[in-house]
Subunit: 548 residues, 2 copies
Amino acid sequence: MQSAISKLTGRSILGYADGEARGQSFRAVNPSTGKEMEPQFYSASVGEINQAAVLAERAFAVWSRASGKTKAALLRKIAEKIESLGDDLVTRATEETALTPARIKSEAARTCFQLRLFAQIVEEGSWVNARIDQADPSRTPLPKPDMRSFHRALGPVAVFCASNFPLAFSVAGGDTASALAAGNPVVVKAHGAHPGTAEMVGQVVREAARECHAPEGVFSLLFDAGVDVGVSLVKHPLIKAVGFTGSLQGGRALMDVAAARPEPIPVFAEMGSINPVFILPGAIRERSAEIAKGTHASVTLAAGQFCTKPGIVITAADPANVAQSREFAASLRELMRAGGDFTLLTSRIHDAYCSGTKSRASQPGVSELAQPAIAPGSVGLRVAPVLFETTASEFTRDPQLHAEIFGPSTMLVSYSSREELLQLARSLEGHLTATIHGTEQDLHEYADLVAILESKVGRLIFNGFPTGLEVCHATVHGGPYPATSDGRSTSVGSQAIYRFARLVCFQNFPNASLPDELKNENPLRIWRLIDGEQTREAVASKTRATSL
Amino acid sequence: MQSAISKLTGRSILGYADGEARGQSFRAVNPSTGKEMEPQFYSASVGEINQAAVLAERAFAVWSRASGKTKAALLRKIAEKIESLGDDLVTRATEETALTPARIKSEAARTCFQLRLFAQIVEEGSWVNARIDQADPSRTPLPKPDMRSFHRALGPVAVFCASNFPLAFSVAGGDTASALAAGNPVVVKAHGAHPGTAEMVGQVVREAARECHAPEGVFSLLFDAGVDVGVSLVKHPLIKAVGFTGSLQGGRALMDVAAARPEPIPVFAEMGSINPVFILPGAIRERSAEIAKGTHASVTLAAGQFCTKPGIVITAADPANVAQSREFAASLRELMRAGGDFTLLTSRIHDAYCSGTKSRASQPGVSELAQPAIAPGSVGLRVAPVLFETTASEFTRDPQLHAEIFGPSTMLVSYSSREELLQLARSLEGHLTATIHGTEQDLHEYADLVAILESKVGRLIFNGFPTGLEVCHATVHGGPYPATSDGRSTSVGSQAIYRFARLVCFQNFPNASLPDELKNENPLRIWRLIDGEQTREAVASKTRATSL
């Protein structure tokens, strides 16, 4: 059997058809060797972008009304086919990203888990938040109408692949899974750093769509040598929402493009975060070495290329705690020195890391605690981990120190009074996470710190680390701007389905003409809010007295 | 006792303080007489806008964590105090708007009903959508953390009063009620057309806040002689979201201002809608006269100044139905002619109505069926109702015919084939509502029409009229752009609370440090999603096996 790698064509996927092999082209580069890889990939043309959008719009009419069972079947089929790619996928993704095979395998598993989570959710069906307020014809002065509402799909969604998650935030990643689950066709813009991985996944998504008899256009995949295809896609009038994971600069640019459209559309961009880790006095006294080890692992996981990598680690330097803080710093420094060097994903990320760490090292009030030399003779995008140190007052004063450095670097920040600590917390912009290490007593004593952090981030972690996000119903992977474009949403976990759904209400419709979710007899047996009460029961009578 | 009208000061309300009586000033104008009213009102200064925002930000720390009971008490107190304004409020609002006392009374009742609906919702507490995924320390390869999330307030919200609803979409209207209920302080920008009504309501909201010991700054009210105060408010860095009801031009301007901020914020703007009414063959055969009467009432209710006023009425003109359609048109024309003339809210609305109807009358393919003369000797902002007629092909072809004319005017649109009807539906932009009059058989036969309309509007009405919106749990008052800025949301009904809330997740927090909504024992007895299952039960054990 021909391997999935040798079948790569370099062409966009336009519904069930292929794009053309012409126009602007590019190749993937192996970050470990700096060498270009086969095949050549071709940017989608303006006509192809339009074709994908038109097909998606046509597919919307069918897919937005597909049953939960039908949608679940596609999501599961995609997961199954990604699994069947096996080692081919691991090989290609590893070569394109320099991430380890173990990481790619676990990311593939997560991707399939996410697809099946959304399958489960749409099959069960209660996610639509069906609400029924029954009629009361005898109400005065006016009769009360029958009102029923639920969530419906939004329209064709543009999904941008992320550089740092070639699977879980890419072609069949979280945004695609949640958009398809809600009933939206998806047009994916591949990331230039891992187009081969994108095409392999894209091919199996297309196969899955065909086998499940999904409407053509429910999925397309566009390649882009630069940024033009992405921008054109966001500007396309048939696209109704955007999912993006990447840099603040890139995300904000798309937000601005979307907001300036004749018809503005929502952009869900996850952009950047420094994920502050607060180590409170009780914790540093009890578990200094253990926390240093955990911090090092979290900072250097996947070469520090997680959106949830801790970018600052805050410890107390008042007389009562300064000794422990110094010991913690020494442990972390040793770990950073001993931990070796790393290969980054792309030359853009590599250059930004080198210039970012260099410029931070020259900031007044910042010192460099560790920057081991890169192994001699290294090739590719190798970098050393860097550990910085500064004070809370410097950090609070200097907005440049709040900038994310993407890669294996972090900064220790020491505070000398409680007020300095709270000021630091108040000075934070929006981030994805904040972490607190402490005893339960600490948590109680620093309730004011927790309250401040709660207004700054989407997820608060106690005695853990922000990397390694659990995908479940309660997951929130979001946070106020500039962590994301819309801090009310999450890109991970089952609640992500709501970003691509809208409310629709039916007034006085006959039962037979209502969608199944809203019919009296509740044929799907879903949870519904009937006259303000949660229930899975059928509606007993259309004229039952209401509770309001 | 001094009347609330004679106590009007013309000053902004800044937390528990008053703004200054200086700077740019203006007066309300009685639309029925054209006469200016006492007192003079003063635009908030830049310093006063800042003061309101800073007070709101301070209040946020307390109010966002206030219990449902505490928030409900304030909402109910506001309702009670609005009721106690009694005839003073009716008198002033009537004089400022030319709406009838009956309308003002029913709008006051609706406003208080809304406040109490949100009181009930936050007191009950389940609106926060608490979700708990329990830990599984024995899971391999990694232990599963404990994850708990819910909805929290967003931050200070700017609310813009609407010209056409001096109470229900103004100072203590839907946006204010839902924002306060979710835990957000509110800074209201009064509408220049009814500042006296705004101050009367604002004064009692402040009194209510004081009596309920709410934090100062939970409510402020700013006057504005033009648009500068509103724009400055939306630009203020401490403001985190905006609620607006008004014109497309005004709403889009605020959307653009908000999107261009260093930190973009969500704007929930409800802007315009032509609320198409489709009269299918079965209905026009059975109930032509009755539907004409209902249409006339809906078009002219409150002088046609509802966001849900039917702007086009679509009937069949094929040989089988043309006679009924003509009869319907004749009935509607008679009613429009006999129904008298109307006073509009503001000179801006009056001028836009006059120029809009004039320019439509001169459009090729449009004829004017009825425009009775205005009663001789009329003063103030009097206008005649106008009935236009055109064909579906003209309407589909000409985007100008899709524009809303705010006021007592509508347009009959006749189609001569099913394909013309569907093309017309497909050509529609986003609107708040679509209405279908038909038999159940019609609804079945025109399922494709319903499917198209479902993707165009927030609410579909069967055999009713779009005006007179029911405020309940299932209400959706929204729709795709340009009806609103964000078609995923609603400005009316209990789901409006989610526009001003965001998701926050707690990972591995000790039970004692969790918000009550997320504690194991479920002290508030709210509905929660525990490991994917809806329940009001407590969490049995922190390590119970999970269902996923």
